[in-house]
Amino acid sequence: MNTTQMRREFLGTLGTGLGGIALNALLRRDAFAAALTDHAPKAKRIIQLFMNGGASQCDLFDYKPQLIARHGQKFDPGSGERVEASVSLPGAVMKSPFEWVQHGQCGRWVSSVLPHLAEHVDDMAFLMAMQSKSNVHGPASYLHTSGFLLPGFPCAGAWISYALGSLADNVPAFVALPDAKGLPYNGRSAFTSGFLPANHQGTIINASAAQPMTHLQPPASATHITPASRSDSLSLLQELNAAHAAERSDDSRLGARIESYQLAARLQLSAPELLSLADETESTRKLYGLDQSETEDFGKRCLLARRLVERGVRFVQVWSGQGGGADNWDNHADIAKELGIAARRMDQPAAGLLTDLKARGLLDDTLLVWTTEFGRMPFSQDTTGRDHNGGTFVSWFAGAGVKRGVAHGQSDEWSWKAVEDVTTSYDFHATILHLLGIDHKKLTFRHSGIDRRLTDVHGNVIFEILT
C-alpha cells in the first residue's frame, strides 16, 4: 500500500463523507490532494442529471433525416454488420414521433419534446457519440456510474468524495437524489462506495419523503426522546467516552468517534435549512416547475441540488425515473407516450436549473452534466417502442470549464452506432475528474491485488469540449 493510500485510509477512519467533515479542511490542505492534481481545477462542484433507463438519443438530440426518409422500411445499415436488439427482434426503421427544429446560435437540432432545454443549447457541449459496452440496464448503469460492468466498484461520487471531500464542514460530499417513485436500476448500489471506506457512499435524500434523510431524527413514536434528553445524552456520552478514551490515549479511533457525534449534531442542525425550500421565491419555484404536478418532483430535486452545491456538497446526482419497467426512460412500448411523459417531467426543471445556476454565477465553477446509461435503437420494437442501444447515446456538459454551443462526435446516419470521435464512460469520467483538477490515472485505491481506478485501465479526457 502506498503512503497516499495509508494516509487516506487513516483519514478515512476519521471520516470524510457525511462523517468526518471537519477534516475536509485538513484534507484539502493535505499534500496528497496535490499529488492527484496536475492542473488547476475549473470546477469545484458537480450536478449530474441521470436519465434512468436509456434516454432515446434519436428522439431528443440526435437528428437523422435518414430515419424520416426510410421510416417503416426494413432496417439495413448496409455495413453487413449483424443487427441485434437486446430483448426483441429488430423492427422497421422508425422516425421520431416528435418534430425537429434547430436552435440557438450553434444551430443544434433538438426535438420538440424538450422545448425548455432547447433554449439553452448555446450553453451546452454535447457528446454526440457516446458508446456503452452493454445493452442492458444493470451492467450499463454500473459502467456509467462506477466504470465497471459488475457490482462492487465505487461510483464516481464516492471517488470524488474520497479524493476531495466536501466544501463545507456540515454537509456530505456526495448526495444522491433518487426519483420520488423509487431507486434507479441497481438500487442503492448506484450510489455505493464499493471497496472505498463506507463514509464515501452517497447520502440519499428522498426529497418527497416526510423524513428526507433516514435516521436524521428519531421516529416520532419515541416520545421519550426530547431536545433536552438528546442534549443531556450527548454531553454525558461525551463525558463517559472521554473518560474511556483517556485510559486508551493511543487509540485515535476513540477520539474520532467522539468527534463523529459532534458532526452528526452539526449535520442535524444544518439539515432542516438545507432541505427546506421555504425561502425560495415564487419565481424561482416557477422556474423549476414546482407549480405543476408533472414537473414538481424533478423540479424540487433540481432546486435542492442547487441548494446543496451552494452549501458545499461536492457532487449531487439527480435521478430522473426509477428502476423497473415503467416511469422512466426505458421506453420499449411507445416512444410518443412514454418518452413524452419522461421528457416533460425533466425538461423544464433541468432548464430551470441551468438558468438559475447561471443567474447566480454558480455556473462559473459548477459543472452540470446530463446523461443516461445508453441510447435506443433507430428501429422499432413492436411498432412504436425502441429497444436498448449501447451503440450510441448522447450526453451534455455545461458550465465550469466547458465550451459553449459545441458538439463532439457523431453517430452513423441512422443513429445506430457511434462512428466519429466516439466517447465512453471512461472518457466521460476522466473529463469530470479533470475538470475537478484530478488526473484520473492517479486517483487509485488498492483492492484485491489491483490499483483500482474509476476509469479502469482506460479513459481519455475529452479536451475538445473543454475551454
Partner: protein, 1048 residues
C-alpha cells in the same frame, strides 16, 4: 539528445505526434510548444523549430509530457506480454527473438541484430518495428497493433537506458518464487514458550526489543472470547461465574463451552459467508429473490458447528455432488460457487444470440472461478482474464482452463433430499429414468420379459378403467368475459364463436354428483368451424391457456368459494417445456399452455388436485379458463371438462398421440417396435409415479447442469460449453479452445487435473476440488490458517487474505504462518475448532490491549506486542442489542427472516421494484426482527441501512476483510434507528422490573450493558440522568458508548 538521421527523426516524430494528437487538441499544441520551448533552456530553440515541426513535438513531449520514469515491470513488461510474447516468448521464438528474457532480448534475433539499443530508441529494431506505419513491416503482424501510448512508453524506456532490473531478467516462473508459492516446510519452533504461537511471536518481539503485553483481566477475557467465538456477549452471570472461578481450568472450561455452543457456528459461518459473498437476491438491475439460497447458509453453520475437516469442507463446496453423491449436504454445499451476484436480465431476458448474453456467461464463470480461487488459494486469478496476470505467474491460458472447469454449470435451484434414504431411492429411480429415456440394447431385451408384460397388462387395464371413470360435469353456464358466445354441444362440450376478444376468460359454473374429486380433465377439441379446425380460435388453430383455476362453493353462492389446489398438470402434447400445461397452474399470466403446431387434433390436460376431498351434490364448481396475457385472440374454440375420483397417483398421464395410434392397432398386428414403445411408456409411467411418490425434494440455489429452462434464453447446456481464450478478454477475439485445467505455479502440485471423464462436467470440478484440498497444496493450508488468524486478531498474518500474490501483503510472520498451516493440516487434521483452541489459548491472543511500549517501533502492531481492539461488527451489534433486551430468538436455520416491509404490490419477490423495500418502518417487535442477523434476508441492492452504516458487506463483492469506519451516519443510526430505540425500551423494562430507584437502575444498566460495576461519580450522574430523562434514554446512552462498542 543527438538527432542526426532523418529517417529516425521521422519515426520518432510520427510516434510522438500521434500521441500528442491523442491527448491534446490541435489548438493547444502550439501553446504547449511555446510554453515548453522556454523550459528547454540552452537549446537553440529556433533551429529546432525550423528543422521540423514534428521534431519539435518530440522535444516538447520529452520535456513536458512524461516526467515520470518508465518502469520495466510496471510499464514495459505488460506491453511486451500482451503484444510480443506470443511469438517471441518462452514457447515460440520467431526469427530467433525472445523478449521475455533480458539477455535474449538485448541480443536480438537472427535478422536484425541487437533489438534494444539502450538510450537510442530509434536505433532499436524493437521500437522501429512496433512504430511502423507500413502494414507489411509493422509488428505485431496480426491482431491489434500497439497503441500510441504503448509505443511512447517503449520508446521512452529505451531512451532512458532500457533499464531492465536483474530481478526481472528471466520470466517470472524462472525467478525466485514468491513467498506464497514455495512448498510448505516445517520451520523450527523457537524455544521458550509452551504454545508454539507464542514461541514465534515472542522470538520476533525479542528481536525487535519488545516484550508482550500482560494478560488481559478476566472480565475483558470473557467478553473478548465470547464475542470472538459466538458473536454475542456473555451475560452477567456467566461473566461473574468466570471471574470468580478458582479452577485453573476455568478458561479451558469456558472455551469448551463456547466452542460447543451452536452460536459458534452461526458466528463463524458469517465470516465464511463474507468470503463466499452470500445473499438472498441475485443483485443487479432486477434484483430477484433467491428463495432457496438459505440451505447453503445453514450448511455452512452446520459445517462449523460439526467441525467438518477443512479438506472435506473445500471438496464439498466445489464438487460435493460428484465426490460424495450419497451425502445430501454435500450437494447443498455447492451453493458456495453460486453464492455471488448473478445478472438475471442478461441471463434470462436478453436474447441468447446477443453479444451481451455471451459475455454475461463468461463473466458468470469468471465470478465462479474468482470465488473459488480467491477463497481457497488466495489468488487473484481473475486478473488474468484479459491478459496474463501482470504480477503473478498465472497465464491467461491457465485462467481459461479454470473457466473450463465450470463450463458445464449454471446457477439455478438444485433439488436435494435432506434425508439420505430418500436420496438413495431417488438416485435409483433417476438412473432408471435416464436408462428408459435412451434405452440400450440390454434394456430393450428385457422388455419382452413376463414381468414387463404383466406390468403392461395391468397398466392397460387400469387405463381402460380410468378412461371410463372420467365423468362429465353438469355445466350450468359458461360466460366469456370478453364477450364471445359459448354454446353447449351435443357431446357435453362447449363451442366458442362470435366476438374474438384480445383476451378472454371463460367462467364455467358446474355441478356433479356427490363424491370425491381427484382430478379435472380439460379436453380441447377440433371443430370444422374453427381456423385450421382448432382447437384454438387464433388463425393458426392455436390457443393459449394462461391459467386454469377451479373453485368449490357449498352452494350456488360464489362467495366463500374455496380454490382447489393442483399438484400437477400434464398434457398429451405441449408446445414446449415453457409452454406446457404446467404453465397453466403456475400462478403467472405471462406463461401458458399451447399446442402449436399440432392443430386439428384433440388434446387434453389433466389437473391433479392436492389433498382430494369429498363434495356434496349441491357443491358448485367454478372454473376459470383464462387467456389473459401474451398473444391476442388465443381463446379456446371448443372444450369439455370431466372429472375423476381416482387417487392422484393412479392417474395416468394423457397418452401421446403416437401411443394412442399404437393402441389403436389390434394386439395381434403390433410390431416389435410397437410393443417396445408401449412397454417403455408403461415403465416410464411407473418410474414417474414412483418418483412422484417420494417426499418432495428441497431446493438449494447452487451450481447445476440440470434445471428447467427459464424462457428461451437461460437453459442448461447438455455438455460442457466450449471455452476459448479471449484475446484482451473480448468475445470478438476468440483464441485457442481451452480444456479444463488449473494453475502451474503452485509448488509440488501438477498443473494438469486428473479428470475422469472430460464430458462429465462434475468430474472436472471433482478433479479441481481434489487438487485444491491436496495436502501438498501450500496455498490452501496457508490461506485458511491466515483467514482464521485474521478473524481472531482483526488482521491476518498476511493482511490481504484473498491475495497472496505479489501485490498482496507480505506476511508479518512467515514461519509462524507455515508452521500453523502444517500443524492445522497434519496435527489438527483440518479441525478449525482445534485451530481456534490453539490460538485463543496463546498468550499472544490473551494479551491486554492496554500497552503502548511498541507504539514507536511498531505503531501498526504487526508484531503483536499487544492485542488489537476490534469494534463490534454490524451483526454483533444487532444481536447483542436483542440479547440485552432478552428478545433474541435463538431458533436456528430455515428461510431468511425479512427485516423490512415490501410495500406496494409486494412484487419484489419475483423481481418487482426494490425501491419498495422499507426498512425504516419495519416493526422492530415483529418476530422476524428477533432472529440473529445471520438469518436475515440479505437484499443485495437495497441493504439494511442500520447494518450498512456499521460496515456490513452488501453482497456486491466478496469481503475477505471488513471495513471499520467511523462516521456520523453511525452516530445517527445508533441514536435514531427505531430498532435500537425500541430494544432500549425493552431493556429498560427488564431493569425496571427489578429495580425501582434511579441509583439501582443505573447500577443494573451498567452491569447489563458494560458488564461491570458502575463507578461512583458515573453512577450518580447516570442516576441523575435517569431521574430527568428516564431509563430508556439512559440505556440508549450506554449502547452508544465506546466502551460498549469496542472490545478491549
Amino acid at each position: 539528445m543527438i538527432v542526426n538521421d532523418a529517417d529516425q527523426n521521422m519515426l520518432r516524430a510520427m510516434a510522438t505526434a500521434r500521441l500528442l494528437r491523442s491527448i491534446v487538441p490541435k489548438s493547444q499544441i502550439a501553446f504547449i510548444v511555446q510554453r515548453c520551448s522556454v523550459s528547454i533552456a540552452g537549446r537553440p530553440i529556433q533551429r529546432v523549430i525550423k528543422s521540423s515541426v514534428a521534431l519539435t513535438l518530440y522535444f516538447v513531449f520529452a520535456a513536458c509530457a512524461m516526467s515520470q520514469q518508465v518502469d520495466y515491470a510496471r510499464d514495459v513488461r505488460p506491453i511486451l506480454q500482451e503484444h510480443c510474447y506470443k511469438c517471441h516468448g518462452s514457447k515460440t521464438q520467431e526469427s530467433g527473438l525472445r523478449l521475455d528474457v533480458k539477455s535474449e532480448a538485448l541480443k536480438g534475433g537472427e535478422s536484425f541484430g541487437v533489438s534494444i539499443v539502450a538510450g537510442k530508441a530509434m536505433d532499436s529494431p524493437l521500437i522501429q518495428f512496433v512504430s511502423r506505419e507500413d502494414a507489411d513491416l509493422q509488428m505485431p503482424p496480426e491482431g491489434e497493433r500497439l497503441s500510441e501510448a504503448e509505443i511512447t512508453t517503449l520508446t521512452k524506456w529505451v531512451d532512458e537506458g532500457a533499464n531492465w532490473p536483474e530481478q526481472f531478467a528471466r520470466p517470472t516462473e524462472d525467478t525466485k518464487p514468491h513467498w506464497s508459492l514455495t512448498p510448505l516446510r516445517e520451520p523450527g519452533v523457537p524455544n521458550g514458550a509452551a504454545n508454539p504461537i507464542d514461541a514465534f511471536i515472542h522470538a520476533r518481539l525479542a528481536e525487535n526489543k519488545l516484550v508482550p503485553a500482560p494478560e488481559a483481566d478476566r472480565r475483558t477475557l470473557i467478553r473478548r472470547l465470547t464475542y470472538d467465538l459466538t458473536g454475542l456477549p456473555p451475560n452477567s452471570e456467566e461473566a461473574e461465574g468466570f471471574i470468580s472461578d478458582k479452577d485453573p481450568q476455568a478458561y479451558e472450561k469456558l472455551l469448551t463451552r463456547l466452542l460447543s455452543s451452536p452460536r459458534y457456528g452461526e458466528h463463524w459461518a458469517r465470516h465464511w459467508l463474507d468470503v463466499a459473498n452470500y445473499a438472498d437476491t441475485h443483485g443487479n438491475d432486477h434484483d430477484y429473490a433467491r428463495p432457496n439460497a438459505w440451505p447453503y447458509r445453514d450448511y455452512v453453520i452446520s459445517a462449523f458447528n460439526d467441525d467438518k475437516p477443512y479438506a472435506r469442507f473445500v471438496q464439498e463446496q466445489v464438487a460435493g455432488d460428484s465426490l460424495f453423491p450419497g451425502d445430501p449436504q454435500a450437494t447443498v454445499a455447492l451453493g458456495f460457487v453460486a453464492a455471488g451476484p448473478w445478472d438475471h436480465t442478461l441471463m434470462v431476458t436478453v436474447r441468447e444470440d446477443t453479444v451481451d448474453h455471451h459475455m454475461s456467461q463468461n463473466l458468470d464463470r469468471d465470478n465462479m472461478v474468482s470465488t473459488v480461487m480467491g477463497t481457497f488459494q488466495s489468488l487473484t486469478v481473475h486478473c488474468a482474464r484479459c491478459h496474463d496476470h501482470k504480477f503473478d505467474p498465472i497465464s491467461q491460458r491457465e485462467y481459461y482452463s479454470l473457466q473450463a472447469v465450470f463450463a458445464g454449470v449454471d446457477r439455478a435451484d438444485r433439488p436435494f433430499d435432506a434425508d439420505a434414504r430418500t436420496l438413495l431411492e431417488r438416485q435409483g429411480l433417476l438412473s432408471e429414468q435416464r436408462a428408459l429415456r435412451q434405452p440400450d440394447a440390454a434394456l430393450l431385451a428385457t422388455l419382452d420379459s413376463p414381468e414387463v408384460k404383466q406390468k403392461v397388462a395391468t397398466w392397460l387395464e387400469r387405463r381402460a378403467r380410468q378412461e371410463k371413470a372420467w365423468a362429465t360435469f353438469e355445466v350450468m353456464s359458461v360466460v366469456s368475459t370478453g364477450g364471445a358466445t359459448l354454446v353447449k354441444q351435443a357431446d357435453g362440450s362447449w363451442f366458442a364463436s362470435g366476438t374474438r376478444p384480445e383476451h378472454d376468460t371463460y367462467i364455467v359454473a358446474a355441478r356433479r354428483p356427490a363424491g370425491k374429486l381427484s382430478a379435472i380433465r380439460l379436453e380441447v377439441l377440433p371443430d370444422e368451424r374453427l381456423p385450421q379446425q382448432g382447437p384454438g380460435r387464433w388463425e393458426n388453430g392455436n390457443f393459449h391457456l394462461t391459467e386454469f383455476r377451479a373453485f368449490a362453493a357449498a352452494s350456488a353462492a360464489t362467495e366463500g368459494a374455496t380454490p382447489l389446489v393442483f399438484v400437477r398438470a400434464s398434457a398429451d402434447y405441449d408446445e414446449g417445456p415453457a409452454i406446457s400445461a404446467a404453465q397453466a397452474i403456475d400462478g403467472r399470466n405471462e406463461t401458458q399452455w399451447g399446442v402449436h403446431p399440432r392443430y386439428g387434433e384433440r388434446h387434453e390436460a389433466i389437473f391433479e388436485i392436492k389433498d382430494p376431498s369429498e363434495y356434496s351434490d349441491d357443491t358448485t364448481f367454478t372454473f376459470l379458463l383464462e387467456h389473459q396475457a401474451g398473444a391476442v385472440g388465443h381463446g379456446i374454440g371448443r372444450f369439455r371438462l370431466t372429472a375423476s375420483d381416482e387417487l392422484p397417483e393412479a392417474i395416468i398421464k394423457p397418452l401421446s398421440a403416437e401411443l394412442a395410434t399404437i393402441l389403436r392397432v389390434p394386439v395381434g398386428e403390433r410390431t416389435i417396435v410397437h410393443r417396445q414403445e408401449l412397454a417403455l411408456t408403461v415403465l416410464r409411467s411407473e418410474n414417474e409415479r414412483a418418483l412422484n411418490a417420494l417426499p418432495p425434494s428441497q431446493f438449494v440455489y447452487a451450481i447445476t447442469r440440470d434445471f428447467p429452462p427459464d424462457g428461451e434464453n437461460f437453459k442448461p447446456s447438455p455438455r460442457p460449453r466450449s471455452i476459448h481464450l479471449l484475446v484482451r478478454g473480448e468475445l470478438s477475439k476468440p483464441g485457442d479452445l481451452i480444456g479444463p485445467g488449473t494453475l502451474g505455479c503452485v509448488p509440488e502440485m501438477p498443473s494438469e487435473l486428473a479428470i475422469a471423464n472430460v464430458e462429465d462436467e462434475s468430474t472436472r470440478r471433482a478433479a479441481l476440488a481434489l487438487w485444491l484440498s491436496d495436502e501438498h497444496n501450500a496455498l490452501t493450508w496457508r490461506s485458511i490458517v491466515n483467514r482464521v488468524w485474521g478473524w481472531h486478531f482483526g488482521r491476518g498474518l498476511c493482511d490481504s487474505p484473498n491475495d497472496f500474490g505479489k501485490m498482496g501483503g507480505e506476511p508479518s510472520h512467515r514461519e509462524l504462518l507455515d508452521w500453523l498451516a502444517i500443524w492445522f493440516r497434519d496435527d489438527a487434521k483440518g479441525s478449525l475448532k482445534a485451530l481456534h483452541r490453539l490460538i485463543v489459548t496463546s498468550e499472544t491472543w490473551k494479551q491486554s490491549t492496554f500497552a503502548n511500549h511498541g507504539a514507536l517501533s511498531d505503531s501498526d502492531n504487526r508484531l503483536l506486542w499487544r492485542q488489537n481492539r476490534p469494534r463490534l461488527s454490524a451483526e454483533e451489534m444487532r444481536d447483542t442489542i436483542l440479547a440485552l433486551s432478552g428478545r433474541l430468538d435463538l431458533r436456528m436455520g430455515g428461510p431468511p427472516a425479512q427485516q423490512f416491509i415490501s410495500r406496494g404490490d409486494a412484487t419484489f419477490m419475483p423481481g418487482g421494484n426494490p425501491a419498495f423495500l422499507d426498512y425504516e418502518h419495519f416493526d422492530p417487535d415483529a418476530p422476524a426482527a428477533r432472529r440473529r442477523a445471520i438469518y436475515r434476508f440479505i437484499f443485495r441492492t437495497v441493504p439494511d441501512p442500520f447494518l450498512d452504516a456499521l460496515d456490513c458487506p452488501d453482497g456486491s463483492a466478496a469481503t475477505p476483510v471488513r471495513g471499520a469506519s467511523t462516521t456520523a451516519v453511525q452516530a445517527f443510526v445508533m441514536m435514531n434507528d427505531s430498532f435500537v430505540i425500541r430494544q432500549c425500551e425493552h431493556i429498560a423494562a427488564c431493569i425496571a422490573a427489578q429495580d425501582n430507584t434511579p441509583e439501582a437502575q443505573a447500577e443494573s444498566a451498567v452491569q447489563l450493558i458494560l458488564l461491570r460495576d458502575a463507578r461512583g461519580a458515573e453512577r450518580t450522574k447516570l442516576a441523575d440522568f435517569i431521574q430527568r430523562h428516564g431509563l430508556v434514554n439512559a440505556c440508549q446512552l450506554l449502547l452508544n458508548t465506546n466502551e460498549f462498542l469496542y472490545l478491549d
